[in-house]
């Protein structure tokens, strides 16, 4: 499966678009409506982080298969300032922007897998996954 959608994020309307595209694509995998909402909420958090900290970037939504298990991968990347202290940024209630500090740690709780890489003045990439329910 190679279904992939790219959403360029540079305004708050793009955040809404990323959510909608994410819901559409994930729906193909037979996620429950709760899971769909968790995925879409996580997409919203990482997309907003791009806007808040890097002003622009992109979200890639991809359907993946791994050993028969299917899932959705969400990649959020930007060429922004980068995160100086990732451990801090992943802590609840820590924020240097306008957020509540729930964005990244919140997104991690909503998804099954979550990885973040960041380099000062190079940018940040978040890769997160949710596996679809096993259909036997």
């Amino acid at each position: 499966m190679t279904d992939e959608v790219l959403v360029h994020v540079s305004s708050d309307a793009d955040v809404v678009e990323a959510r909608e595209k994410g819901r559409e694509l994930s729906a193909e995998l037979g996620f429950s409506s709760i899971d769909l909402t968790l995925i879409v909420t996580a997409i919203s958090e990482v997309a907003r982080n791009i806007l808040l900290y890097a002003r622009e970037g992109e979200i890639v939504l991809r359907l993946d298969a791994d050993g028969g298990q299917r899932g959705i991968t969400v990649v959020a990347r930007d060429d922004g300032p980068g995160i100086p202290d990732i451990e801090m940024a992943m802590r609840d209630s820590y924020s240097t922007g306008n957020g509540l500090g729930l964005g990244l740690p919140g997104a991690r709780r909503l998804m099954d897998e979550f990885e973040i890489e960041s380099e000062i003045s190079k940018g940040t990439t978040v890769v997160m996954k949710k596996w679809a329910p096993d259909r036997g």
Binding site: V15, R23, I34, T37, V40, E45, R48, R109, L110
Partner: protein
């Protein structure tokens, strides 16, 4: 898309119709805080039934609406949070614990009526 705000008696009812962008949410915040004064409203209902996602920004803004309008002398009730959205909000860490919520518009109106001890004009 701007959120329509309906004036009913002493209440303002903001009924969210479609997906909200961040600027729509901020606009709603401004409109409600301003209209509470203009219409001398005592209660506000924000109906989020149509929202299929509420992230930390939207939740924080709704909380902001409740706090700001309280400072302006009105009580706000958030109604219609969908079960999936409630689930996601708790996972995310947003509980809106200091904000009044009700199941739907009817319950929200009933709550405001008891809270403010007088029925709204034109109450049906």
């Amino acid at each position: 898309m701007a959120v329509p705000i309906l004036k009913q008696g002493h209440y303002l009812i903001a009924s969210i119709q479609a997906a909200l962008s961040d600027s729509d949410v901020l606009q709603l915040q401004d409109d409600l805080v301003e209209q509470v004064g203009r219409f001398r409203s005592r209660g506000i209902i924000v109906d989020v039934t149509a929202l299929d996602v509420m992230d930390s920004f939207a939740s924080r803004s709704l909380r902001g609406i409740a706090h700001m309008t309280r400072l302006r002398g009105a009580e706000t009730v958030i109604v219609g949070i969908q079960p999936e959205v409630a689930f996601a909000m708790v996972q995310l860490g947003m509980s809106l614990e200091d904000v009044h919520t009700a199941l739907d518009l009817e319950e929200g109106l009933a709550f405001l009526d008891t809270q403010l001890k007088e029925p709204a004009d034109g109450d049906r």
